[in-house]
């Protein structure tokens, strides 16, 4: 529905179902599916197909996500739109296949080498997975940046009924094509906008794409007066549009003394815990983040200021909580609740923690 017409992947639990579906569905709509020899090759093929004009994606889990980092970095530098789903499972290494985790939060942000911005979206329900997949493609095409959909195993394997919006209500964005003839086209022109127009290979705009630092024509350069503006522009295209990437839901936060900040399946357990706690008369609330990176610091800050304590439950040893603490700067007390044993954080565990820390 998002317009994806190319998928390349490698089997890995718990993300294989996405690949199997794509192998069935894509040829029916004229798209292409290919099973590659590994995850490095998968993302390579995805980037290639995107350069040839197709909206492209892949899906994987932790070990495969590690292998993809090389090409995530390439896609950032060459500004090639693509969507990568990482269904997180327990790690490190082969870790805990089919058991849930949120251990790749920092890898999604910083796993690829070199300094680069990235967009990471995080669903907590089947509907959100649908909705954020479309948004991921839109953002990727709009900003020419790889977008990572970071799901945990619980959300990925969840079955629940959803009501899909009518097709005409769904907004689909396409990458901007050049409006000038090929002889005037400058591939990485930064004079008008931070996101240059992108033609497909074969459309008559013969240009050069490279992972090397490049000038506005796309040719390799080491001149600091060309590299500096390039890196600035890569960051600007996200930082200038930061306000458009504030997607979150809040529950019962108007008067909450203790506020939970959670994402993914943990946010579901947290919501349950909040409802239970409210029944007991505790003034607690929940903020569910749908965008993990760039981190919604201004949004989070308002809740840090309105609450006495903030609880950050995660299925890892504390990854996003570090970011919350960084933003907090002493505004309130931050409490973490961490679990990385392959089981999900239950409402009961979160409720217990709420009761423990409630002032």
């Amino acid at each position: 529905m998002a317009g994806c017409r190319f998928y390349a992947g490698y089997p890995i639990t718990p993300a294989t179902e996405i690949m199997e579906q794509m192998s069935r569905q894509l040829p029916k709509v004229g798209g292409v599916f290919i099973q590659m020899e590994d995850e490095i090759a998968s993302l390579g093929a995805v980037i290639g197909a995107s350069l040839a004009g197709l909206k492209s994606m892949t899906a994987t889990s932790g070990p495969g996500f590690s292998l993809m980092q090389e090409h995530i970095s390439f896609a950032c530098m060459a500004e090639v739109p693509c969507v990568i789903v990482d269904v997180m499972r327990g790690g490190p290494s082969t870790g805990l296949p089919t058991q849930p985790s949120q251990g790749d939060v920092m890898q999604a942000r910083w796993g690829a080498h070199g300094d680069h911005p990235i967009i990471v979206l995080c669903p907590s329900s089947t509907y959100e997975f649908f909705d954020l997949t479309i948004k991921a493609f839109n953002l990727s095409e709009r900003y020419r940046i790889p977008v990572i959909l970071l799901a945990d195993e619980v959300v990925a394997h969840m079955r629940e009924s959803v009501t899909l919006p009518p097709k005409e209500k769904i907004v689909i964005e396409e990458r901007r094509k050049p409006s000038v003839p090929p002889e005037w086209y400058i591939p990485y022109d930064d004079r008008q906008t931070d996101v240059p127009a992108m033609p497909a290979f074969g459309e008559g705009y013969r240009y050069h794409v490279t992972g090397l630092a490049h000038d506005i024509r796309g040719y390799p350069t080491t001149r600091n007066d060309e590299v500096g503006p390039l890196i600035d522009r890569l960051f600007n295209k996200i930082s200038k549009n930061f306000h458009l990437l504030q997607w979150f839901d809040s529950y019962e936060t108007e008067d909450s003394i203790v506020t939970i900040i959670a994402y993914g399946s943990v946010a579901r357990s947290a919501l349950h815990a909040v409802k239970e706690a409210r029944k007991k008369g505790l003034k607690v609330g929940l903020v569910k983040l749908k965008v993990l990176w760039p981190f919604m610091r201004h949004t989070v800050m308002t809740f840090l200021e309105s609450s006495a304590k903030v609880l950050v439950p995660e299925m890892n040893m504390g990854q996003l909580s570090r970011e919350v603490k960084r933003v907090n700067q002493g505004r309130c007390e931050i409490v973490t609740l961490n679990k990385a044993d392959g089981t999900m954080l239950s409402p009961k565990e979160i409720l217990r923690s709420l009761e423990d820390i409630y002032p």
Binding site: A8, P27, V32, E37, G44, A49, A52, F201, G211
Partner: protein
């Protein structure tokens, strides 16, 4: 000469990317010339050619020519090429790689792209060394040779790139040296014509590093070595195995028919669409 000048204006990018990065006497320039002549005589449109490279000295090759060009990551050129060919099968996709690029870090991609028989022409420039990083041993460096990363002699045996391609399923495999520039042009032309995966191994000379390591200090000496040690495949039949071991067999080694992956997939799409419509 006039004809060559014409090709230079037609195919080389005139914007600021010259001079090129290759050392004086490097064989890559001869290969680039042969490639351009083969493309020109094949009558392909510049808009339809996608020229892809990996990393290393060969990686810089697409930068200089006026096609759709893509400089990818080390060893992965064929993965990008696969995506491009499948997304738009009407494009003529050419991947240029080095020996380390194609058979060490990219070895897995090389054999699997050959096995799938995706319609890509791959050109492997074999200079028996990692030139850009300073002459370390590669999968095609001779056994026993002292290099900058095998100071006591190389303990590894070598890959036969063409043999690897043949066994993995490439439908066209050929070899030439850069000394035999006319033959090189001819076999690249044949490779471009194939529907499936084609491989051209180009024996090139890295005078700066490999030449120094084997005691051939000038480009001319290295080219003469190629001339004296190459034997055409037609003549190689008459040689004994021991004699062949010291020789470079050049010419077309494999030319067979097999359905190309992108063609098979096109048929699959047609079939699935038909079934989808019936439902």
């Amino acid at each position: 000469m006039k004809e060559h000048e014409h090709l230079i204006y037609k195919y080389l990018r005139s914007s600021k990317k010259f001079p090129h990065i290759w050392c004086p006497g490097c064989g890559i320039g001869i290969l680039l010339g042969a490639l351009i002549r083969a493309i020109d005589s094949g009558g392909y449109s510049k808009d339809d050619i996608v020229l892809i490279s990996g990393i290393g000295c060969s990686g810089r090759l697409p930068t200089y020519v006026d096609f759709n060009t893509l400089h990818t990551t080390h060893g992965r050129a064929l993965t990008f090429a696969t995506g491009i060919k499948l997304a738009n099968p009407s494009l003529k996709v050419i991947a240029v790689m080095g020996d380390g690029d194609a058979t060490a870090i990219g070895g897995n991609h090389f054999i699997h792209t050959a096995r799938r028989n995706v319609g890509i022409t791959s050109i492997v420039i074999n200079n028996n060394t990692y030139g850009m990083t300073g002459g370390q041993f590669s999968p095609t460096t001779p056994f026993g040779l002292k290099t900058s990363s095998s100071p006591y002699g190389n303990l590894e045996s070598t890959f036969d790139i063409c043999g690897l391609a043949r066994e993995a399923g490439a439908t066209f495999v050929a070899r030439s040296t850069v000394y035999h520039a006319r033959l090189l042009e001819e076999i690249i032309g044949l490779a471009l014509n194939k529907e499936g995966f084609s491989v051209v191994e180009v024996i090139s000379n890295c005078t700066t590093y490999f030449g120094r390591e084997i005691g051939l200090a000038s480009p001319v000496e290295m080219l003469k070595w190629q001339r004296d040690n190459a034997v055409l495949v037609e003549k190689a039949k008459d040689l004994r195995d021991e004699e062949l071991k010291q020789k470079i067999v050049i010419g077309v080694l494999v030319d067979r028919k097999a359905p190309a992956y992108h063609e098979l997939y096109k048929k699959l799409i047609a079939k699935c669409r038909l079934e989808n419509d019936e439902i």
